[in-house]
Subunit: 322 residues, 2 copies
């Protein structure tokens, strides 16, 4: 049974239990708490050999990243992360120093956004290291941004460059230490916690998600859940200088890592067309950098890729996490 | 680094981040949401080879129990579970039927208490099966019961018989199918969700926890966190007929599994002395069975064990989960 098969089984199994809010389908579940307020919840499991290797990731980076992926999910809902929980299955053979570095990475990211670790579980593992982090966010119900809220005509924006993490993964796997910024984008990504909260407060922002599986797949989800299509201009994809250089050296079309690379953890959102320029300017004056418009939502029909305004017949598919 | 060492490391690492509520130390973390309301959160990880073996536990029981341990934690806080989240690392080699049975167990317990599964994560595993469930509860801040709230003079009660799970574990490990009720107590325990909520609404109930590590250890925690001692009358320990019979056959002092056996998942709570009889009568008329008074909180000094009122010099220590 593959991942999708298991998710469908879980949904089918649970259809008899009525939900108290919105569950499977968005970056976080949304639970109403009191009038106008919600709690959002997300959980992610990182397994040795699947999401990281002890030979290529440092303890610090594993600690950092196990929290980062969850804070990114909370940010993409437009609310503030207020607590995290860590469950960890620990094999024999990792040193005290390893765990100290692991907790240092987790702590440094916690401190950066003021999110306390409020509980968890620790167990022995007969096999590999497994880390499962749950993050809780809190905020106004009216601020919550869903994947399903895009409207035809909306401008599609990302809050950062694309494909850095995919390039960093290739570098890490080849053992290279060139391009430290790309390696860092993969090994210890920075979730856009402040940007997510700020965008949550703007009514002209309609749909939002974080890019965990690549723009092709994550924007595809927005289209599917909003009942819309999208048109993306490949020449507008924001690429870092390092990514361009790396792709030139490796003879890779940079659109491929930019659209299909996983784990960029940049926010991807759609904005009312009439307000898009103002929103971008306000964002830039608040954060010191501008978000990147990459396309536009259309009435239907999946994603169409354009180069200089002309439809291209390429297929981009998202990154498959296992 | 052992479990306690890791917990201390985590606490030390996070001391720089101020908490938004009450974190590590009780069955759940408590996060204030709005005036007079709280969200409670707990997470538990079950690992193959540590918490269960695929050879002795059925898929159904593993699914059931992975949720049961978390619902028990929420119940022990005195509030209502409102949602669960499941992260699962799945190795190759388990059949579709296995996962269907697993989800059937999870679903049946969810249906029983009306708790929806609202999200999660699924990943491949290069090693064993690992299941991490997070449960969220909601309720009035005034109803929350803490381990730290016992007062000297309180009557100590349990809401069910003790040691059944420990006996069931021994039976399961020996491959025996005798005493199905004891096996069931271990393999698919019933969390006292309704009892927990009901006790949460009673002001005369001071401290509460669920018995996951044995009365000796869990009551010891209440003593330590409340700054009290306790006196427990061994002849008052509630034992099921099956447990008595099993212990007689095996030539075991039933006080040992009753006090040191893990995973009974019965509620253990302390009640204002003046109200204890009324509370017990009200509980019995509501649930159709009475809670069991087993002792009394004392001003200080850990737990003293009595037999017919006379102190005995036995040492009981809790069950060590790995």
């Amino acid at each position: 049974m593959d991942e999708l098969g298991f998710i469908k089984l879980a949904e089918r199994s649970m259809s008899a239990v009525s939900s108290c809010g919105e569950g499977i389908g968005d970056d976080c579940a949304v639970i109403p708490t009191s009038v106008g307020r919600v709690t959002v919840v997300t959980t992610d499991m990182l397994a040795e050999g699947v999401h990281f290797r002890l030979s290529t990731s440092s303890a610090y980076d594993i600690g950092w990243k196990s929290l980062a992926v969850n804070l990114s999910d909370v940010a993409s809902m437009g609310v503030r992360p207020v607590a995290s929980f860590m469950a960890i299955a620990r094999p024999d053979g990792l040193s005290d120093e390893w765990y100290e570095e692991f907790m240092a990475g987790y702590r440094d990211l916690s401190v950066r956004f003021g999110v306390p670790l409020m509980g968890g579980d620790t167990t022995a593992s007969e096999s590999g290291l497994t880390v499962c982090v749950t993050a809780i966010g809190e905020g106004e119900a009216a601020h919550v941004k869903r994947r399903s809220a895009a409207l035809s005509g909306d401008i599609v924006m990302t809050a950062g460059t694309l494909g850095d993490s995919a390039a960093g993964l290739s570098l890490a796997e080849s053992g290279s230490t060139r391009y430290p910024a790309l390696l860092k984008a993969h090994l210890s990504p920075s979730p856009q916690v402040e940007e997510g909260q700020w965008l949550g407060g703007r009514r002209e922002v309609h749909a939002m998600t974080d890019i965990s599986d690549g723009v092709a797949k994550d924007l595809g989800q927005i289209c599917r859940m909003s009942g819309t299509g999208a048109r993306v201009e490949l020449t507008r994809l924001p690429l870092s200088d390092d990514m361009r250089r790396y792709c030139a050296e490796e003879n890779i079309d940079p659109a491929v890592p930019a659209l299909c690379g996983g784990e960029d953890f940049k926010l991807l959102f759609t904005v009312d067309e009439a307000e898009a320029d103002t929103l971008a300017a306000d964002f830039a004056s608040h954060f010191g950098y501008a978000p990147y418009p990459i396309g536009r939502m259309t009435p239907s029909g999946g994603i169409e890729w354009l180069r200089h305004g002309v439809a291209v017949n390429e297929r981009f598919t998202g990154y498959i996490h296992r």
